[in-house]
């Protein structure tokens, strides 16, 4: 099975800078959002922003967007597995 990234995609410096700016903006948003009381949704908001940030790091800094799809499948699989484990654990804690 051949699985090369033979055409090695090289991201430009500008490209990385753009990603950083997005990440910093999202960070600022999450800090500001912390001051707003979303009640029970605060965690949700914080986590959603964190997920978007980590998505950017994974896709661009870690190159998942341009690599062989196998890595993306594996990475997504791991996050899904973790989410399922947390979910099942809460079947206990939420219903005691």
């Amino acid at each position: 099975m051949v699985m090369e990234d033979t055409i090695k995609h090289i991201t430009s410096y500008k490209g990385y800078l753009k990603v950083l700016i997005i990440l910093l903006t999202l960070t600022a948003i999450s800090v500001i959002a912390a001051w707003i009381n979303f009640g029970a949704f605060s965690v949700g908001v914080a986590l959603v922003i964190a997920c978007i940030k980590s998505g950017a790091v994974l896709s661009y800094f870690m190159h998942l967007k341009f690599d062989n799809i196998v890595y993306r499948i594996m990475a997504i699989g791991v996050f899904i597995l973790f989410a399922i484990i947390v979910g099942i654990t809460f079947l206990d804690y939420l219903f005691r």
């Binding site: 990234d5 090289i10 959002a33 912390a34 790091v57 594996m74 947390v86």
Partner: protein, 205 residues
Amino acid sequence: MSEGNHKQEEKNDDVASKMGMWIFIFTELLLFGGLFLVYAVFRVKYADEFHRAAAQLNTFIGTLNTVILLVSSMTIAMSVTAIQNYNKKLAMNMILITLVLAFTFLVNKYFEWGLKIKHHLYPSSELMFNLKHGENIFFSLYYFMTGLHALHIIIGMTILTIAYVRVRNGSIHAGHFTLLENGGLYWHLVDLIWIFLFPLLYLIT
């Protein structure tokens, strides 16, 4: 075709190494995942006390450290671009900046922890035991998670230092830069973990 396999064995080296590093990254994600699970359970149980305890953390230092790590992720990514563009000097400088930023992060953490410890707030201190349950758990989680994270920063810095030396002496170059690329991946992992730690510990006020 068996000749093709021989070539595959060479290229294998780079692709195999990257796959190996990704799998290792998954194990690290799950290692911290266990801690995030503990956090989630107790956050739900002690929502108010977590809020109150988190207020005692310094959001400014936390945000500063977040910015530092995000920038350092960019610089190490840039170093990979640099090496691919045959720009050895830029690659070295980018790695160096990453290391300086990493060190700054650790210095900040040192002061952050130092302040808490000076106020007698650390695991197994009298003060900790007398806290409300949720507050005690919060600070235990705070120390455990940021401590384990700091350990991974040190590991990452070690790998990147080795990469720096190898770029300098030429064993890492545009044709073969696996260690730099994989070291970069490890560094991004360290950043990823902090991206989740930051809001969960500092921004729940």
